[in-house]
């Protein structure tokens, strides 16, 4: 185990931002810390970086306690939400910063900078001023800067949240490829489950300062540990398993769980209709209960038949 968090608690005065969190990240593994804003995930990340002191518990690397190791000796790279590039340095100057701190020779430093800029798709940007870059470009430079000194662990704090949607999705895919290719051990903090599932080998769900569930993305997605987690992961309706023909206690339904289909087993009345990017989302009434559903075009007031799609169903627990 590369990184080990052993029952970490971080307090600000009376309130505990992080309570009793234990987590491990294996060598080369990418773990996402996923949770709503204010759940303590950024605080946890800052604690690992050494920017906050845990009030209890320990951060260990390969078994060695890091309590006495200051930020600049931990060799953990950190990428902020908004880049935080050094405005007085060029793109190359930013990327080279960590290498200079490690006293890497000029020649190999320059080579490393160029190869990293190529890696993040910014060839030829070396001499640009960072203030002239777009948000996406800045974030790529921030990533290159953090990767340059080959950190033992890469910490990413909402690395894509400040970007607009199209760019975010594109960069998430790029970032996932990059982390895999460089075989980087990384911990990503995000509140966006798409982002977490794209990037991570394992996902840890945080809620009110605690980790409530850890697992591979598919497992967390299909069986959230409780109703709250299920809600955070997009379930908006909770019904007995028998409703969808499963032999489990409770299941959560996402909108995609019900699909308009003439051959469907259920029947409902369309109450509302909203156009989304690639489908139509409906609110239908079935036996006096309201459900969300997706479907081909239908008019408000129509009686429609609905089929259950188990991909949209999450087992609770």
């Amino acid at each position: 185990m590369a990184l080990e968090l052993d029952s970490i608690t971080v307090r600000y005065g009376q309130t505990a931002a992080v309570s009793d969190v234990s987590l491990t990240v294996a060598d080369g593994e990418v773990v996402a810390l996923l949770g709503p804003s204010g759940c303590g995930k950024s605080t946890l990340l800052r604690t690992i970086a050494g920017l906050e002191k845990p009030s209890a518990g320990s951060v260990r690397w390969d078994g060695a306690d890091l309590a006495g190791v200051p930020v600049h000796r931990r060799e953990f790279g950190l990428v902020f939400q908004d880049g935080q590039l050094f405005p007085h340095r060029s793109v190359a100057g930013n990327v080279a910063f960590g290498l200079r701190m490690k006293k890497v020779e000029r020649e190999s430093r320059d080579k490393r900078v160029l190869s990293l800029l190529e890696l993040v798709g910014l060839e030829g940007y070396a001499d640009r001023r960072v203030t002239q870059l777009s948000g996406g470009e800045q974030q790529r430079v921030a990533l290159a800067r953090a990767l340059a000194p080959s950190p033992r662990l890469l910490l990413l704090d909402e690395p894509l949240s400040a970007l607009d949607r199209a760019l975010r999705e594109q960069l998430a895919v790029d970032l996932a490829r990059l982390l895999r290719e460089a075989q980087t051990t990384a911990l990503v903090v995000t509140h966006d489950h798409d982002e977490a599932f794209t990037l991570a080998d394992r996902v840890a769900i945080m809620s009110r300062g605690r980790i409530v569930q850890v697992g591979p993305p598919a497992e967390v997605w299909s069986s959230p540990v409780d109703v709250e987690t299920a809600k955070f992961l997009g379930c908006n309706k909770f019904v007995p398993g028998s409703f969808v023909g499963l032999d489990v206690g409770r299941v959560g339904l996402r909108a995609t769980a019900l699909r308009v289909d003439p051959a469907g087993a259920l029947e409902g009345v369309v109450l509302e209709r909203v156009h989304r990017r690639d489908h139509v989302r409906l609110l239908v009434e079935i036996d006096g209960e309201e459900y969300e559903a997706v479907g081909p075009m239908s008019e408000i007031g129509d009686r429609v038949r609905l089929e259950i799609d188990l991909d949209g169903v999450a087992r609770i627990g």
Binding site: H72, G98, M101
Partner: protein
Amino acid sequence: MLPLAFLGLFFAWPVLAIITLGLREGGVTTVLFAADTWELVGFTLGQALASTVVAVVAGLPVAFVLARCRIRGLGLVRAAVMVPFVLPTVVVGLAFRTFWPDGGVLPIVLANAFFNVAVVARTVGGLWAHTDRRAEDAARALGASRPRAFLSVVLPALAPAIGSAAAVVFLFCATSFGVVLVLGGSRYRTLETEIYLRTVELFDLSGAAALSLLQFVAVLAVLVLGALARRRRETALALRDREELARRPSGGEWYVVLAAFAVVVALLTPVVGLVTRSLSTRDGWSFAGYVALTTRGDRGTLAVTGIDAALNSVRTAFDATLVALVVGVFSAVVLVGLRRSGSRIAEVLDTALMLPLGVSAVTVGFGYLVTMDALPGDFRTSPLLVPLAQALVVTPLIVRMVLPVLRAVDERLRQAAATLGASPLRVWREVDLPLVGRSLVAAAGFGYVVALGEFGATSFLARPDAPTLPVVIARLMSRPGELNSQMAYAACALLMVVTVGCVLLIERLRVPSSGEF
């Protein structure tokens, strides 16, 4: 601890010595019950209040233009407003005397205001530039007229800045020395000039000390009020949005722009008047005054030539700036560090560092005379005394200029450097220093100019054989002879040219909207 030690040795001790002197000799009671003391206090506060009002009224339109308008000649406005603030007080006094040869209350008030328009324009303008324009737009969209929106949205947002600027201006005016001395003569006296007169001409040390004590109490009160206002302002600044672009003025705003330019013209008038006066004699245009700078004045008024005094000024101000820069930057770094760790001491230290700004330079100079005998070596006659006193006057200004910039360095930027392997010292060198570098240079230039023009403390401490230019000017003015006054005006013009040159240089280096002054 270094800044505190410096403050303690070269500020607190002399001032305390004055206070005990005042208390011990029973001077306080005598002075407190004398009717003319209260007349003095009344006039001091009255003229300060009037000057503050004038400065605020004149400064607001300028603040608006600096913060909100995108028009040609903005750099010129900025520099023109700044020049009076750093002009030596004696020079300003003389400049106003070219228009009011007999002095009087009106020129005193106008001259004091003249100095401080810059403080109002810069302090208020600084906040104004960071205040989200959309609040005003929202008020307008909700049906408020332009003046209504200004009164109900903009003015309340600016109130803390106006309050703290007014407090500082009031302080400056209440302790203003050179201006009152030159324009008031013996008829109109404030606490500050009275302290000087009693010490230097009447040798009434205990009376002077008692008056210093009275002044110190008043200053402390105003400073505490100012600190409260500043605290409110900093919370306001924390709310600010990204600095938005200024736009071209429209409609009624042009009247404000016009008013601002009228203020600028009014500010430039005494300056132009002074230069004109330095070139005109009874016999027409002449460089006689400038030529006389190579001499010791009419019938040997001075112990050294004007040129020697000028060179001495340049050297002294350089030393003073160096000391002030070290102490000021160190204090600012400590203050920011303390504030980041959420310490309460930060606020106390912050206010303590402002004290020398408000305590009259005359009191400090007087205090040096009283205390410096006690130090090892012949400190009282040491050539270091003047630079140290000037450094004391300059340090608070440097702190005020560097502190906001230092504080504005994003903590996460420093953290990013740390995660990349930079030790705390390295972070300071690689991140903070390059980011505040320009404002450091600007602060140094600014401090240099202020030291160059410092008169209050210097007039006490400068030895006759090593006077600075402002001291020489005052001496020349106090002696009869046309050549003497001609020479004084020429010296003023010279001092002004140097000052303006420095200010223009600072303007080029200025980081947008940094610092208070």
